[in-house]
Symmetry: C2
Subunit: 133 residues, 2 copies
DNA sequence: GTAGCTGCAAACTCTTTGCAACTCT
DNA sequence: AGAGTTGCAAAGAGTTTGCAGCTAC
């Protein structure tokens, strides 16, 4: 099921601006900031406003179609909520690498359970320096 | 308290305000926001200003005497940089529980290494719901 | 037709900063 | 004495919101 359909199912109107923003997110291979999304959306629809980008990203976040990140910056970054994964941030270049690890997933749930909690969500971010070959 | 000594060693002047803020941090068992630190510091020195609290926390962060957190809120929380640990945040009450896990520590470093990185830092936060007994 | 959406600008929140006065060393 | 620190108020950055007009359904 595609993104637009999920929005419609959630009761959202499929306006041109929303289509544009969804397209931008879908085409982004990185983790764009709100500003980034705004810039990219403007290329396709120059009348789009920052307020709409904020409102739309907040809606998508509530619907959990998008994941909001905060990589120790003073603004948010977004990405589509696809396969569950974590991030390694290159402290020198700012590059973001995605990874998954089954063992860690199990361990997280296990730790939460031992503390008397059911794991709802989690953030794991590694910050590293590239090893020179 | 060798916190003060560490600050002096770093070349900071030990002003009354800084002593107060260090004391507040040392006595806090939670993860106070800047506002919290300010309120608690004001109880001991009513003339202290928000600007000084911000400036001091930023300095302590640079000296790595303090760790800045951002638990998906739109403001920062701080705690003294003591033993390395992670946090489980109760999504219903906002309570923060600290934990450590050797196995996860090893795995983190291992994952980073496999991706060609030397682990410099890391954030692991679990968000959970209390399991009713 | 109307509930919901949009752009604009103003407002808000958290944080930083310029400046003149003050204080630790 | 002098460099560093402070409080104040103003400025900044990121984000939210009230409103009047517009649009998808």
């Amino acid at each position: 099921m595609d993104l637009e359909q999920k929005c419609i199912d959630a009761g959202l109107k499929m306006t041109g601006q929303r289509k544009t923003i969804l397209k931008v997110l879908d085409e982004s291979e990185d983790h764009p900031s709100v500003e980034d999304v705004y810039e990219r959306a403007k290329e396709q629809d120059s009348s789009i406003s920052m307020a709409t980008v904020y409102r739309t990203l907040n809606l998508l976040d509530e619907l959990e179609l998008v994941v909001r990140h905060d990589f120790n910056e003073n603004f948010s970054r977004y990405e589509l909520n696809m396969a569950h994964h974590h991030h390694l941030i290159d402290v020198e270049s700012g590059d973001v690498i995605e990874f998954q690890n089954e063992e860690i997933e199990k361990m997280k749930a296990e730790i939460a359970r031992k503390l008397g909690y059911e794991l709802v969500e989690c953030r794991l971010e590694l910050y590293g320096k590239k090893i020179k070959a």
